[in-house]
């Protein structure tokens, strides 16, 4: 289909050698259309980060194949930006140099303004707060104008207010037309962001629920529909 941006076909991943093989993912199959905000929700160790790394081209499936824009994923590409769990800014470069890593000549002013980083361009990463470092790495990921943004628990280890602000930022980025895939183990984070949640089982990870979340943004975590969804998700998680 034309608007299927990412496709995962019967993907399995086994780590280690034959004696101590660990199956991280088993027979995972789904596809993501342009414009979706998909959250992959699952417990620690269910292989969700591995799956995201495969979509980024940083790892490869033991079985099955992954596709982006109808082409098989054989390595990283600038159309698929990836946000690591830690900001991974180079400590020896200023914020500006870090953002410009993929394009020295580009005009970064609009991006920097959008991220609220104007005052920090000349700062070094160790001078930034956790939230600002996240914003800087987000700006770096957005500079190549990606079609999709792959987010590996980007909001872990942040305080409540910073987390909320960054969630709104991610939604704004998504609304500009960038398809987002986010990995998390936090049910509330999934419900705050997703248009669709893929619920994974514990290891070996496989999809146990594929749910479209039809709730309006910004989401109110006290609304009855939100609470219904949360109860439903918790029930599915407990049943596994």
């Amino acid at each position: 289909m034309a608007n299927e941006l990412l496709q995962v076909k019967q993907v399995s991943k086994v780590f280690g050698d034959q004696q101590e093989a660990v199956t991280a993912l088993q027979g995972v199959e789904f596809s993501i259309s342009t414009g979706e905000f998909v959250v992959i929700l699952g417990p620690s160790g269910c292989g969700k980060t591995t799956l995201l790394r495969m979509l980024a081209g940083l790892e490869f499936p033991s079985e099955g194949r992954c596709f982006f824009d109808s082409g098989e994923i054989k390595g990283p590409g600038l159309q698929r930006s990836y946000l690591f769990q830690e900001p991974r800014l180079f400590p020896w470069l200023t914020v500006e140099q870090n953002i410009r890593l993929t394009g020295a000549q580009k005009d970064i002013a609009p991006l920097v303004a959008k991220m609220g980083l104007e005052k920090f361009l000349k700062a070094y990463p160790h001078q930034l707060s956790g939230g600002m470092a996240k914003r800087a790495s987000l700006a770096r990921a957005l500079l190549p104008n990606p079609k999709t943004l792959l987010l590996d628990e980007p909001l872990a280890n942040l305080d409540g207010a910073t987390k909320y602000a960054l969630q709104q930022e991610l939604l704004r980025i998504w609304q500009t037309g960038i398809t987002c895939v986010l990995v998390t183990h936090d049910v509330d984070e999934a419900l705050a962001l997703a248009t669709r949640i893929l619920l994974f089982s514990p290891r070996p990870g496989k999809i146990i629920q594929d749910a479209k979340i039809k709730l309006a943004y910004p989401r109110n975590d006290l609304s009855s529909m939100y609470i219904d969804w949360k109860q439903k998700l918790m029930k599915w998680i407990r049943e596994e």
Partner: protein, 223 residues
């Protein structure tokens, strides 16, 4: 008289040390970047590293004559390995997570070199340079004691034959003093060039404080 000896010694160190830096840093980067190369050249380098520079002096004199070249060769030899090994180690110690960033954004070779490898290994390169400078200073004095008619080493030896203890002491203290000065020069340079380092290296031996005035444990750079 003293100034002449000092000048010629400094000149010899500068020549040998410069050539060592220019060759050892690129080779170190290459060995750190391409692990496969280590299998081929590692054993040879390890073998050469074990030989004290002074042991080469007789052979160097036969190869390069009794002029400046043989002394520069000894200094080169002394400085080469500390710089090489520290550079290699510096590149190897760049975290895997940063390499992954370079892979993810498909950084071209030149960007990886200038944005990742060179700055990432720079603190270790500086440690290598400081160690290398110390080693070349030692090798120089040894070389001048054995085969030279000028320089601080020669000054000490000739004072010995005349039993001029005062001159010997001046020579010895000068060697130490100049060594500290050069080391401090590197420390200052390091903080100028690497503003992101938080005073891990580059500690003043005299005050025990780094450029930010923070007291830290002395680095391993002064042997």
């Amino acid at each position: 008289m003293l100034a002449q000896h000092l000048a010629i010694s400094l000149q010899r160190v500068a020549t040998g040390f410069m050539i060592a830096s220019i060759t050892a840093i690129p080779v170190g980067i290459l060995l750190g970047w391409v692990p496969a190369l280590r299998i081929w050249v590692g054993p040879t380098l390890n073998f050469l590293r074990q030989i004290p520079p002074v042991a080469w002096i007789p052979l160097f004199i036969m190869w390069f004559g009794i002029g400046e070249a043989s002394k520069s060769a000894v200094i080169f030899y002394a400085a080469f390995f500390p710089i090489l090994l520290n550079t290699q180690l510096g590149v190897e110690q760049i975290p895997k997570s940063y390499w992954e960033v370079s892979l993810l954004y498909r950084l071209p070779f030149i960007t990886s070199l200038t944005r990742l490898v060179l700055p990432g290994s720079a603190p270790a390169v500086f440690t290598g340079l400081r160690l290398g400078m110390g080693m070349s200073w030692r090798a120089l004095v040894a070389a001048e004691m054995l085969a030279a008619s000028s320089g601080l080493g020669y000054l000490i030896m000739s004072a010995r034959s005349l039993v001029r203890i005062d001159e010997m002491v001046v020579g010895i203290f000068l060697v130490g003093g100049i060594g500290i000065l050069i080391d401090q020069l590197f420390a200052v340079l390091e903080h100028r060039v690497l503003p992101w380092t938080q005073g891990v290296s580059g500690v003043s031996i005299i005050t025990g404080r780094n450029a930010y005035g923070k007291r830290t444990s002395p680095s391993q750079t002064s042997i």
